[in-house]
C-alpha cells in the first residue's frame, strides 16, 4: 500500500494519495473558492492544465501559484481565497 501524504489546507489536516494535484486536493476538501478576482468574485479551476490561471493559491507562503500544476508533497501548507 502506498504511503499517504499529509498537507494543510487552510489550517485543516488533509491526507491525499501520491500524485494528487493541489487543485484536486483542494476540491476534494470541499473548497471551490480558490481565490478572488479583482472585483472580489470567487474563482476556481477551469482548464486544469495551467493555462487559465484561475486556480491560483498560496503554496508554502508563495502567492499566485497554479494549483493544478503542482503535486501535493508531504507537509505542504496551502491557503486559498487569499
Amino acid at each position: 500500500m502506498t504511503e499517504l501524504i499529509h498537507i494543510l489546507i487552510n489550517g485543516h489536516a488533509v491526507t491525499v494519495k501520491p500524485g494528487t494535484s493541489i487543485a484536486a486536493a483542494v476540491l476534494n476538501a470541499g473548497t471551490t473558492a480558490f481565490r478572488k478576482s479583482v472585483s472580489h468574485v470567487p474563482r476556481g479551476p477551469v482548464c486544469g492544465m495551467g493555462v487559465c490561471f484561475e486556480c491560483r493559491v498560496k503554496i508554502d507562503g508563495i502567492e499566485h501559484q497554479r494549483s493544478c500544476m503542482v503535486l501535493c508533497s508531504e507537509g505542504m501548507v496551502i491557503e486559498t481565497d487569499v
Binding site: V38, F53, E63
Partner: protein
C-alpha cells in the same frame, strides 16, 4: 466620404488630443476629433500614468506643474475607472553622491510651490519596506499621483462630446494643413484651426517636425497589495532619459489600484519595432532588483511595449507653425504625455482663442526645437 466645417479640428485621439478637444470645446462652438484607432490606444495605453512634476528644465517644470494643478482640479469629477491614486513620488538615492543632491532638489521644489520632503535612510526603509536596506535616503513629493491613462483620455473626450465635440474614428488623416484635413477615404474637413496631436506619427503629417519614436517596455505583476506604496523612481532616472544615443534602463515602479506592481522602464531607438526584447526586459528587472531585491520573486503576468514621441530638445512641441498660424502642433511629449496633456490642451486652446496663456509658451513653439543644440 464626408465633408464638413468646424471651428477646430484635432488630429489624434491619444490623451494629448483628448485634452486639446476638452479645452478647445470650452472656447469653440464646434470641434472635430479624428482618430484612426481606439481612443487612447497608442502611447497613451502603453504609459504608466504617473502625474509627476519634473525639475528637468524650467520649461518642463512649468508645464508639468501647471498640468498637475489642472489634473487635481478634475480628479473629483473623474470616474472611478480613471483609478486616481495619490501615491506621491519617492525619488530614491542609490548612493551618498546622489543623496547629496537631494536637499538642493527639495529647495527648488519648495521655492516653486511644490511640497517636497527629504527622507533619511531609516525613513525611506519605513516608507517602503521592500526597498533594499541601507539606501541613503530619498526625496518624497507627496503631491504626485497615478492615473489610468486610457480611461482618463476617454473621460476627457466624453466631457468634450457633451460640449458638442464630434469624434470621427476609423480612418486616418492623410493630409493635414492649416485650413483642412483629408482622411484616407477622401473625407475632407475645413477649419480655422487644425491641431496635429498625432504623437510619434505627427511628423508624418507635418514634415519637418523632429519627432522620433523611442521604445519602452513595461512589466506588470500579479496582485501583491502594498508591496510598494509610492511611485518609486531612481534619482538617476533623468540621466537615463537624457541618454539620447544608446539604450538605457531605470528603476521605476508603481503600485496599481488593483494591487498589481507595474515595473519600468527602458528606452531604445529602434524605429517602430514593437516586439518584446527579452534582453532589455531582463536588464530592466535586474535594475529594479538592485533597489528592490524581492521584486524578482513576484510573478509577472504581462509585458508590453510602447513608443514615446521624442524631440531633440526634450520638450513637447506646442503652438502654431511659424509659416501658418492656423496649423498648430501638440506632439512630442516623450515620457511625460499623461502628465503634460492637460497643460498642452489648455495652452493650445488659449493660443487658438487669443487668451493670454497661463505659462510662457515660447519654449514649446514649433521651431524652438531647431534652435537648440
Amino acid at each position: 466620404m464626408e465633408v464638413g466645417t468646424y471651428d477646430a479640428i484635432v488630429v489624434g485621439g491619444g490623451i494629448v488630443g483628448c485634452a486639446c478637444a476638452y479645452y478647445l470645446s470650452e472656447v469653440f462652438e464646434s470641434v472635430l476629433l479624428i482618430e484612426p484607432g481606439p481612443i487612447g490606444g497608442g502611447s497613451t495605453a502603453a504609459g504608466m500614468g504617473h502625474v509627476v512634476v519634473m525639475d528637468d528644465s524650467p520649461a518642463q517644470f512649468a508645464l508639468t506643474h501647471d498640468s498637475q494643478k489642472l489634473w487635481k482640479g478634475l480628479f473629483s469629477q473623474m470616474s472611478d475607472a480613471c483609478e486616481v491614486r495619490e501615491t506621491g513620488t519617492l525619488w530614491v538615492a542609490a548612493d551618498e553622491e546622489e543623496f547629496s543632491h537631494v536637499e538642493g532638489k527639495r529647495r527648488f521644489y519648495e521655492q516653486h510651490g511644490v511640497h517636497a520632503e527629504v527622507l533619511d535612510s531609516q525613513q525611506v526603509a519605513e516608507a517602503e519596506p521592500n526597498l533594499r536596506p541601507g539606501l541613503p535616503g530619498g526625496l518624497r513629493i507627496p503631491g504626485d499621483c497615478v492615473i489610468y491613462p486610457v480611461t482618463a483620455a476617454g473621460w476627457l473626450l466624453e466631457q468634450a462630446k457633451r460640449r458638442g465635440t464630434v469624434v470621427r474614428q476609423g480612418k486616418p488623416a492623410v493630409k493635414v494643413t492649416g485650413g483642412s484635413v483629408m482622411l484616407s477615404d477622401g473625407s475632407r474637413y475645413t477649419s480655422a484651426v487644425v491641431v496635429n496631436a498625432a504623437g510619434g506619427h505627427a511628423s508624418e503629417l507635418t514634415p519637418g517636425l523632429q519627432i522620433e519614436p523611442r521604445k519602452g517596455h513595461l512589466v506588470i505583476t500579479d496582485r501583491y497589495p502594498w508591496f510598494v506604496h509610492h511611485q518609486l523612481v531612481e534619482l538617476g532616472y533623468l540621466k537615463s532619459a537624457h541618454e539620447m544615443s544608446s539604450e538605457s534602463v531605470a528603476f521605476n515602479v508603481q503600485p496599481r489600484a488593483t494591487g498589481q506592481v507595474l515595473i519600468g522602464s527602458s528606452r531604445q531607438f529602434v524605429g517602430w519595432d514593437g516586439a518584446i526584447d527579452h534582453r532589455i526586459v531582463a536588464k530592466m528587472i535586474a535594475r529594479a532588483a538592485v533597489y528592490m531585491p524581492k521584486i524578482a520573486e513576484l510573478s509577472a503576468i504581462r509585458i508590453w511595449t510602447g513608443f514615446r514621441a521624442t524631440t531633440p530638445n526634450k520638450l513637447p512641441i506646442i503652438g502654431s507653425m511659424p509659416e501658418d498660424p492656423r496649423m498648430m502642433i501638440a506632439a512630442g511629449h516623450e515620457g511625460l504625455g499623461i502628465t503634460t496633456s492637460l497643460a498642452t490642451g489648455k495652452l493650445i486652446a488659449d493660443l487658438a482663442s487669443g487668451i493670454t496663456p497661463r505659462i510662457d509658451p515660447s519654449p514649446f513653439a514649433p521651431g524652438a526645437a531647431y534652435h537648440h543644440d
